[in-house]
């Protein structure tokens, strides 16, 4: 449900993100908020600043504490560049696979009927609920050195991709599903009666309607993948220049007492997350219009 709530397309928000016109008109009359609400807003903002903003600004401040040169040295070291590049590439790969796989699974869960569908549907959220370190252990059990099916990908780049696919599985599915449920089937029937073939209907009608949801799900998956740590740390082996991702690299820098370099690389990761967050907001607006 994280996916749907972020894109403003949650089960409850579906009927309309904006309040009814009447309510909006009346709002102007009661624009004066009671003192209690103002106090609540003040305390809420203070809480947000203390818990989230103060620490995150400390990261950015420490990153530039040694000047721009020191920041650049930390983020342009060979190991940092390799880790960041691998993180972005493997996250993109995970997002792309999710675009295809997630859309397919969402379609099957909405349009198909088979025994046990509700059960499968409920289990889709398991990667959200399962602690990430357990997810890593889970994948290592089937795809590690003691694999009962003889597939051992532990300590390879494929293992990192596998872990990311596991933790990002629900994003595209959960953002496409509600749109697919609401999609007007009359359009498809009209196209069919006009002689369009399935492929054409999918390409010209279904896909354009789903595109905003697919993209925002993929963006969420990408954002999650860029920062992922728990599921990767056990299965990747953390081999520099090969399977080391950004977050694990930062963790090593913290452990080896290099907080300034850690802050610098973290700032790059933070910037990526912020950009993706902004992109998702833009996509949300596009989806609301479409």
């Amino acid at each position: 449900m994280i996916a749907t709530s972020l894109t403003g397309r949650g089960t409850a928000g579906r009927a309309g993100d904006r309040p009814p016109v009447a309510a909006r008109a009346r709002r102007r009359v009661t624009a004066r908020r009671p003192a209690g609400a103002a106090l609540g807003l003040g305390l809420g903002t203070l809480w947000l600043s203390l818990i989230v903003l103060l620490p995150l600004s400390a990261v950015v401040a420490h990153a530039f504490a040694g000047g721009l040169g020191a920041f650049w040295d930390a983020v342009s070291s060979k190991q940092a560049v390799a880790a960041l590049r691998f993180t972005v590439l493997v996250s993109l790969a995970a997002a792309l696979i999710n675009v295809v796989g997630g859309t397919l699974i969402a379609w099957v869960l909405v349009r198909d009927r088979f025994p046990g569908k509700r059960f499968v549907n409920a289990l889709i959220d398991l990667p959200f609920a399962l602690p990430t370190v357990v997810a890593g252990l889970v994948l290592l059990t089937l795809y590690g050195s003691r694999s009962p099916v003889g597939i051992d990908v532990a300590f390879t780049q494929a293992a990192v991709l596998l872990a990311l696919l596991f933790v990002t599985l629900p994003f595209v599915i959960r953002s496409v599903q509600p749109v697919l449920i609401e999609l007007d089937r009359e359009m498809e029937e009209a196209a069919l009666s006009l002689g369009a073939r399935n492929m054409t209907i999918f390409r010209r009608i279904v896909l354009p309607n789903l595109a905003p949801a697919i993209l925002s799900g993929a963006a969420l998956a990408f954002a999650r993948a860029v920062g992922e740590f728990g599921s990767i740390v056990l299965i990747s082996g953390n081999i520099p220049f090969k399977t080391q991702v950004g977050s694990v690299y930062v963790f090593n820098l913290i452990e080896s007492d290099a907080p300034t370099s850690a802050a610098a690389v973290s700032t790059v990761l933070l910037a990526v997350s912020l950009l993706v967050l902004l992109a998702i907001r833009g996509l949300g607006r596009w989806g609301a219009r479409a």
Binding site: G8, A15, V108, A122, G227, G230
Partner: protein, 270 residues
């Protein structure tokens, strides 16, 4: 789009095979591996003093973080859904930050504020308060990562129900507290409950941020997820599986709660 029967079965097979390979079989296998040496061994390994302490610490941290974030969530959701104020768009975007920021960056950020050489670290040390490598740091990290859940579940509910009933209550002379308690709270209770369930799951399962700030002192600052990693690194595979199975059971209970609540919400019992 009317997909022919063979196509439909083909797509279904591909989808289910993907889910099986990625999700169902690995999770099932962990349970099988956990219990292959009998339930007694599992029981012994989740009732060692270290494991019991880790479980207690995890519950304590959750019991602090979830109520605070629930209170914050309800207040902020009302402000976002009902109020018109400057900076609303910005605050709205900032609330999502904990979803987007890497847990490791979150852990580091707390070290840089409360650690020995952090902004507030030296003065806190003088006052005799230790945050990093201690329980308060774990609590702060957990509050950070689970901050957005209740806000994000309650805001759309508030927007959907509109404010007619609240207006009516106000017209009839109810104060804002009475209106909140008798009108608003009953209509958002499922949204709140859903957000709380998600928060609890996230608090229990948090690993990255906690692993940076905890220091992993056995019997003191080890949470359940840290215990899994520690046992795995110490080649105590059976112990790691046992703790994992416990966490996986909690996750499955979370899913069950989510499914039941969704059904109630869809039935319109809001």
């Amino acid at each position: 789009m009317t997909v022919s029967r063979p196509w439909r079965i083909g797509l279904r097979t591909v989808a289910l095979a993907y889910l099986a390979a990625l999700l169902f079989v690995p999770v099932g296998l962990v349970f099988w591996r956990t219990f292959e040496h009998g339930i007694g061994a599992v029981w012994d390994s989740i009732t060692t003093p270290a494991a019991i302490h880790a479980f207690q610490l995890t519950l304590e941290v959750t019991a602090i973080a979830v109520p605070l974030n629930t209170l914050f969530g309800i207040v902020m959701a009302i402000a976002l859904a009902r109020g018109r104020w400057r900076g609303k768009g910005l605050v709205n975007a900032l609330i999502d930050l904990p979803f987007a920021v890497s847990p490791i960056v979150i852990g580091l950020s707390l070290v840089l504020v409360y650690g020995l050489h952090g902004w507030l670290g030296p003065s806190l040390t003088k006052a005799g308060i230790q945050v990093i490598f201690s329980v308060p740091g774990i609590v702060l990290a957990t509050i950070f990562v689970s901050l957005p859940f209740v806000v994000r579940e309650v805001t759309p509910v508030l927007k959907e129900i509109g404010d007619e009933q609240e207006q009516a209550a106000a017209t009839l002379g109810a104060g804002w507290w009475t209106t909140f308690r008798r009108v608003t709270l009953p209509s958002i209770r499922w949204g709140v409950a859903y957000g709380v369930v998600l928060s609890v799951a996230r608090c229990i399962g948090e690993f990255g941020a906690v692993s940076v700030v905890s220091g992993k002192i056995a019997g003191e600052t080890d949470t359940l997820t840290l215990l899994v990693e520690k046992r795995f690194s110490n080649f105590d595979l059976a112990g790691a599986y046992a703790a994992s199975a416990l966490l996986a059971l909690i996750a499955l209970a979370t899913l069950l709660a989510m499914t039941l609540m969704n059904r109630r919400r869809e039935e319109g019992d809001a």
